[in-house]
Amino acid sequence: MTRATRKVNPARGGRESAKGCKGCWALAGFVMLWAGIAPAADTLEINDAWIREAPPGAPMLAGYLCLDNSADTAVTLVDVDSPAFRHVMMHRTETVDGMARMMHQDEVIVPAGKRVCFEPGGLHLMMPAPEQRLVAGDQVELVLHFADDECRRIKVPVKAP
């Protein structure tokens, strides 16, 4: 595990999915099912995704979601990006002896048959706030990239908790 200081590759720009993404399930799932390829879409669910509405002018946003893996093999989330944000980082808040710090996560593993949640005070997505403030009710697209070049495109609501 490394500290939360990874530099974002400017060449990537964040606007496009830079990782090889062999078709996103939201778009290509049907085709893949038809082709008879065992799709992660059957066994991996992304639930309870939301982005916290932040105060006006707050420079950073946090996003949360749960990954439910009903497969008999682990799934590894390696990256998240979004057309709405310059970049998205995977962080974990760790509180040791009352001291809170954010630790960058290179990957998040969801073991076979398990649920892993990004939730307040723990794992979370961190992204710079876009110029136009996001408010409760807005929807944002996130693209989750998994090991083996799989990816999943989801619509995530902005909520004020």
Binding site: R3, A4, T5, R52, A54, P55, P56, G57, A58, P59, M60, L61, A62, H91, T93, T95, G98, M99, A100, R101, M102, P120, G121, H124, M126, P161
Partner: protein, 171 residues
């Protein structure tokens, strides 16, 4: 219950650009949380939790409500103007405080609050590690109690009422 401790002088600035000193604490109970506006998870959680504490107290008729102070540990980026829009979002009564490093240290040192930039990052883009404890200051402006993690609003509200009642009876 351990006795409260008086605070040595300090001068911070509130989000209306007015000085805020140890004397500004006199006259009401205050919860203080130390964080920064670039913090997307811990700080909104804590401030939302303190708003919930106030709501619980208000619903129970336990007024006057303690004030909530958000003290920035990122003086390089958090100006009174930045803090004004940030803190008012949680509740119009919340107060955002900032100050020069030296003044900030005067406050944090006596309250056992630690903070420091995470290694790495750049001058504009960095993270700050910080104590996530909540400090309770009494109406004399003395350091009364600490609430460690995890923060449960029901428990903090109940503890606050117990501490306040004890404080009033012991005077």
């Amino acid at each position: 219950m351990p006795s409260a401790r008086a605070l040595a002088p300090f001068t911070l600035v509130d989000h209306h650009n007015k000085p805020f000193t140890q004397d500004s604490l006199i006259g009401q109970w205050s919860f203080a949380f130390f964080g920064y506006t670039h913090c997307p998870d811990v700080c909104p959680n804590a401030l939302g939790m303190l708003k919930r504490v106030q709501t619980l107290l208000e619903t129970a008729g336990d007024t006057p409500l303690p004030r909530v102070l958000f003290v920035s540990v990122d003086p390089a980026r958090d100006t009174p103007e930045t803090l004004a829009s940030y803190i008012s979002y949680f509740h119009p009564s919340f107060v955002g405080l900032s100050g020069e490093d030296e003044e900030l240290m005067r406050v944090t040192r006596q309250l056992g609050i630690l903070y420091g930039r995470s290694p790495g990052g750049s001058d504009e883009d960095y993270l700050v590690d910080h104590s996530a404890t909540i400090i309770l200051l009494n109406p004399e402006g003395h350091f009364q109690a600490v609430f460690g993690m995890p923060h449960d609003p029901e428990k903090i509200a109940a503890d606050f009422v117990a501490i306040r009642n004890w404080y009033e009876e012991s005077r």
